[in-house]
Symmetry: C2
Subunit: 445 residues, 2 copies
């Protein structure tokens, strides 16, 4: 019997646990689900004969040691900053580890140690990062194997509310960590187009969107992710002239969001004086010029020209930034106040479903002709437990765990799912769950 | 005989050393000038019977110990980040210390230890911080002593090129640390006006200037400093409804500088790919949209509307940001590249003189009437050695050292020059050097 330890039983683990428990008898697995809240873990194991729920505090060194040493493989669903500690323990006890998180520099430093211990640390096995790598590499390798030359790779992903439940002026709800959404793009965004490097400072990011139609889901817009350049290395496309990665929203989002950025409301490195007793209208006024005899709405239009668009103004009014309502947050940063307001308005209703949309655009030269492949995928959640996010993050991680335990994959060190022996079986099995990429091909020009 | 140790013999120490050597015989002092470059120290001591020049490396713990322990008072002119180490040594050997630098949080942590050791650490004894505190407190205390109520305090300082040598389109040259000028304002700027807190994010700072005429020197503009709010505590004006501090430039500077900010050229937290072989024109293009068939000048006007002002465009062209000239800086950040370009253009000619301008604006209520006091000062440098900056930074520090050694002031712990017993004698003596504040008073409204 193989023993699997899952650390963390948060929302995104539902499908992962489900998959592993469903396959536990056939493959002779036992799953231990560890969470700081034992009750949450118990509910998710739900009395399954192959599952055990335990209370777990990552600060408890002794318990971490005993849990890691007693299991055969460790899946960490803990917040990313905790992975390093878990990885060090896995190396010490020579246990393979898997996560859906980015391979941070801190994790990459452990590459040699993991190799010496002879164990793999599989990172980026979720949706983005995860399915994006696998589905991209599938096309990239096919083009390369045909002897053709890739000239451009654009790739976009977004977590949105499903069309049927898309009923607010922003066409957006929180389907994932709200803080990450508020802070998105903070830092410079770098990409390359036809050999020219491009740098967009954060305060201009939402000025510079692309627009796309994706599958049957209509119109979207895309803003650039922070570091598209590093993917040239990850995808072995060192000399590709164009490389761009972006985040998908519905059209009009960026133009309105940009008002918050231009005001300074997404900043997170200082706190506002007396934020607790401030109203949202005073919060807004704190970023506008001192003109107490002019309504904030009019000052805003003057200071952020985007707000003079009535479609933008409707979004802002709907959120309540002009309201004389108390914020009630002590010593809050602008970003924290904005997040509080958004969480009241952008939260999912109990019956809402989420949606994941991903699109890759490859250009390549074949026999002197330039062609373009568009590969797109959309997943709609089933309910608030089986969300599209939980499905697309949990399934590839679960399948990779299976492949590892049945000996189909075998690595040492830090590994991303960019090799054929990983992405092929994972993508194949994802198809059986309805996660499929639809391809179309065009002549360029 | 009292022995004075000066650590660091940089440009801003010329006047300080001069003053102390000139007074050394009368007061029976010996001055040891320590610099990493012994030759520089020797030149400045210039064989004076009361002076010794020594080589000094702040990394040399033993030498630091012997130097501090053998002297009676220590003046640190080293870069600010080194002060903590010096201060700890001064506390250990119970030697008073003086600097012209900000009392950082790191230094303030030593307050209790300095008190226990029974020694003063005088900080902020230069121009800004320094003369600004002294000249402000003089008026603030006068108003308070008359039983009147201060309602507003605005204060501006700038280091500029003297009018006669002000001969470039920016009306600006580097008279101080170029890096600080390039990075100025990076972070949020906070102030309060009529009880309303105002926050300006960095990317909007240069949109929001004040304009002023100062003394006989014509028109200036002012942009907000980062933290004006903390001065309510420093000046004991906790409940003052308006408090604003700013930096002075000549009119038009901010409108043109804002183009660099809006492009992202002042960012310093990432490096550009292949910066060494890039031209300045390519550097500019890296921040503009991808439109290789459109001239950078035209793209820039579209992307940064300020650049469509011919006065702004003249400034940009004069700097050479459109030039096809190689940058030649390896792995450089945008701010480093911009600084290199500016240093070629904004450097002082050998005969140029600098200028310091400072203006305070106090409003107060007396017998139900609101009045305003404007207190302004300007100093023009004598040459490139006796710069206005060296005079205004060095003299108050030198005078404070004298006051300490003759027993006119006596403190424990971290001390700023905000008490009458300090600012009065210092301001009085500064007047004898021609550093005078000119006051005018108005009725408000």
């Amino acid at each position: 019997m193989k023993k699997i330890l899952i650390l963390g039983a948060g929302l995104s683990t539902n499908i992962l646990i489900d998959y592993l428990l469903k396959n536990a008898v056939e493959y002779d697995w036992h799953i231990t689900l560890a969470d700081i809240n034992e009750e949450v873990a118990k509910q998710k194991v739900n009395g399954h004969e192959r599952g055990t729920a335990i209370a777990f505090d990552s600060e408890d060194e002794l318990k971490l040691t005993s849990n890691v040493s007693e299991n055969d493989v460790v899946i960490s669903m803990l917040p990313a900053f905790m992975h390093r500690k878990i990885a060090e323990k896995c190396i010490e006890y020579k246990k393979p580890m898997l996560t859906a998180s980015y391979a941070s520099d801190e994790i990459k430093e452990l590459n040699e140690k993991a190799k010496q211990a002879g164990i793999p640390i599989y990172m980026e096995l979720g949706l983005d990062p995860g399915i994006d790598h696998m589905s991209a590499m599938k096309v990239i390798n096919r083009v390369k194997e045909a002897g053709d030359e890739l000239t451009s790779f654009y790739s976009f992903t977004g977590g949105l509310v499903a069309p049927e439940y898309d009923n607010n002026p922003w066409n957006y709800k929180f389907t994932w960590n709200p803080r990450n959404v508020v802070m998105a793009g903070n830092g410079v965004s770098q990409f390359i187009r036809n050999g020219r490097y491009k740098y967009i400072p954060y305060h201009r990011l939402f000025d510079r969107v692309l627009t796309r139609k994706i599958l049957q889901y209509g119109d979207f817009e895309v803003y650039a992710n922070r570091d598209s350049l590093k993917y040239r290395g990850i995808y072995d496309l060192k000399d590709i002239p164009s490389m761009y990665r972006g985040t998908i929203r519905r059209p009009g989002f960026a133009k309105a969001w940009n008002v918050f950025v231009r005001l300074g409301m997404t900043e997170d490195n200082y706190t506002l004086e007396n934020s607790e007793n401030m109203t949202y209208r005073q919060f807004l006024n704190a970023f506008l010029r001192y003109e107490p005899e002019v309504p904030a709405e009019i000052k805003l239009r003057d200071y952020c020209p985007n707000a003079s668009d009535p479609v933008v103004m409707e979004k802002l009014k709907w959120l309540g930034i002009f309201d004389e309502r108390k914020i009630g947050l002590k010593n809050a940063t602008p970003a924290q106040i904005l997040q509080k307001l958004l969480e009241e308005k952008w939260s999912m209703d109990p019956d809402d479903k989420d949606m994941i949309v991903m699109q890759h655009e490859f250009k390549y030269k074949t026999n002197g002709i330039e062609k373009m492949i568009v590969s797109a995928m959309a997943v709609i959640g089933k309910d608030q437990t089986e969300t599209a996010m939980a499905i697309t993050v949990g399934l590839p991680l679960a399948i990779a765990t299976k492949l590892l335990l049945i000996g189909e994959i075998d690595h040492n060190g830090i590994v991303l799912p960019t090799e054929k022996e990983m992405y092929e079986p994972i993508l194949d099995e994802l198809e059986s769950f309805g996660i499929t990429f639809e391809e179309s091909e065009y002549l360029v020009g």
